[in-house]
């Protein structure tokens, strides 16, 4: 039975392009679940992530963050239709997909990908292409020009996100190596995290950082967004099974466990260190737990997930401190230490807890038959992590430098002081 699942997974994830006529071969059940999962992943970005981030900035920038997330949702969707999906999932080489699926060419209502409609698979993946750039918004919040942000994200999605997706899920070289990334530890979280770190460095700190406290203006928004992210993540991870079956159910369970464990761990660390558990702490730990379980979610069991969640809470907490307090890098909403580090940690731990030989902590086994030990799998995982990180960081740096030269990345100082909402969008968040 394990091998059946392996084949299904490989079939679904890596080369989902068999075309059948009519509804033959279509699984209504799987289609029902992925329709739902697609809605859930969209829900993660709008309004989930948008609110999560919006609450964390100062009141004068609340709309700018909402606007950035919303406009990215729209822009990435159109780019995905036009060319992104093709670059990621059309037949191509080891590095990037071809152009055969530009404008979803050849994909009709009856075209299948595995046993679901290919339009559905492509739309599901579209929601991933939406949230990944949106995650980076947290890094350069409160100071990046709206126009520069749009251009940067558009290019980034095409030259970073789409190719990396091809490497891992589109039949590219990391897929061939046997990398375990169930729902996007490398594809989504490492790319977003590395991109965020570089963006924070290139754009520079907010005026006043780190001296002036820049506290969240509305934590009710953030906690609302956090709840939505958690719920939506069920679609992200359990949807990545591309089926309504035991895989999906287990993915949902381990996702939930890791979120809970990450949250409680972060809260506990804070409680011990500062004497108080904070609500921002607990929700941040949740995001860390979710980001970290993502690559592992189809491969591990609940006890493994518990360990993964706890590790996420501890490691991401200390990385946040390190980046912001020690290195004084203004990755404003901590995208790298939470998502990037979570993605790295999770991708590595997937290589451990997927093993079937850990007793209570066992998972469902590795994907590739040649890989028989944790060590072997770990080296594949490390390769995936390193390649994704380095590629993303370098390309992000280049894109940003070019845009900076041509257009400028950062708003005027006066705009930063008065707030982006009025200066960039001529609107105010609240008039109560």
């Amino acid at each position: 039975m394990k091998s059946t699942r392996l084949i299904t997974l490989l079939g679904l994830l890596a080369t989902p392009f068999s075309v059948l006529a009519g509804n033959e071969g279509l699984s209504g059940a799987n289609t029902a679940w992925i329709l739902t999962a697609t809605a859930l992943v969209l829900f993660m970005t709008i309004p989930g992530l948008s609110l999560f981030y919006a609450g964390l900035v100062r009141a004068k920038n609340v709309l700018s963050v909402l606007m950035q997330c919303f406009s990215l949702t729209c822009l990435m969707s159109l780019l995905w239709l036009i060319i992104g999906y093709s670059l990621a999932f059309a037949d191509g080489n080891d590095w990037v997909g071809g152009l055969s699926k530009v404008m979803f060419a050849g994909i009709g209502e009856d075209t299948l990908s595995g046993d679901i409609p290919e339009t559905l698979f492509a739309t599901f993946q579209m929601t991933f292409a939406v949230i990944t750039p949106a995650l980076m918004v947290g890094a350069f919040a409160e100071r990046m020009k709206f126009s520069a942000m749009l251009i940067f994200s558009a290019i980034w999605m095409l030259v970073v996100y789409a190719p990396v997706t091809h490497w891992v899920w589109g039949g590219g070289w990391l897929a061939n190596l046997g990398l375990l990334d169930f729902a996007g530890g490398t594809v989504v979280h490492i790319t977003a995290g590395a991109g965020a770190l570089v963006a924070a460095l290139v754009i520079g700190n907010r005026k006043g950082f780190p001296g002036t406290p820049m506290l969240p203006h509305n934590l009710t928004l953030t906690v609302t967004g956090a709840g939505m992210l958690w719920v939506g993540w069920f679609g992200f991870n359990a949807g990545s099974a591309l089926a309504a079956n035991g895989d999906a159910a287990m993915a949902m369970l381990v996702t939930h466990i890791s979120a809970s464990a990450g949250a409680l761990t972060w809260m506990t660390v804070e409680w011990v260190r500062f004497g108080k558990p904070s609500v921002l702490g607990i929700v941040t730990g949740m995001v860390a737990g979710l980001g970290t379980i993502t690559p592992a979610s189809g491969f591990v069991g609940p006890a493994g997930a518990l360990v993964i969640g706890i590790s996420a809470g501890i490691v991401c907490f200390y990385m946040t401190q390190l980046i912001k307090r020690k290195f004084k890098i203004d990755d404003s909403l901590d995208v790298f230490p939470v998502h990037g580090v979570g993605g790295i940690l999770g991708t590595l731990l997937a290589g451990v807890f997927a093993s079937t030989e850990l007793g209570l902590f066992s998972g469902q086994g590795f994907l590739k038959e040649e890989i028989t030990s944790i060590g072997q799998q770990l080296s594949v995982q490390a390769t995936g992590v390193a390649a994704t990180f380095v590629y993303t960081a370098v390309v992000t740096f280049v894109i940003l430098k070019i845009i900076d030269a041509v257009l400028g990345l950062r708003v005027e100082e006066e705009t930063e002081i008065s707030g982006l909402d009025l200066a960039e969008h001529e609107e105010r968040g609240y008039s109560l």
Binding site: P213, L215, P216, F274, L280, G281, T284, T320, K324, R325
Partner: protein, 112 residues
């Protein structure tokens, strides 16, 4: 007439109002303000860092009263706000040249 301006801790408002009502002083205008002074602010946690927020939320009460009632009013306020702890607040007394009640056009003592 005098303007009595009192800066007090917000949760004392009900007691003060009750006491003033008993004195027959019903009119008053209140604003929410931030106070800086000897009283320490609080700390806030933000993703693994603690920040000191140094203002304290206070209420500013403004009452215009006739001169002969000033002492009574000040007394009543003190009685109902004093805890002996730093930050109980201040009272400032200033002179008012003229008062008008918009509705009737009455002025000064009649207008209060």
């Amino acid at each position: 007439m005098k303007m009595v301006t009192a800066i007090i801790k917000p949760f004392k408002l009900d007691d003060v109002r009750a006491a003033l009502s008993e004195l027959g002083v019903a009119g008053m205008t209140i604003s929410e303000v931030k106070g800086f002074g000897r009283q320490k602010g609080h700390t806030e946690l933000y993703r693994g860092a603690e920040y000191v927020i140094d203002f304290v939320p206070k209420l500013k009460l403004e009452l215009v009263v006739s001169e002969d009632r000033v002492d009574q009013v000040v007394e009543a306020i003190i009685e109902n706000t004093r805890s002996g702890k730093v930050g109980d607040g201040k009272i400032f007394i200033t002179s008012v040249d003229q008062v008008v009640r918009i509705r009737t056009g009455e002025t000064d003592e009649d207008a209060i």
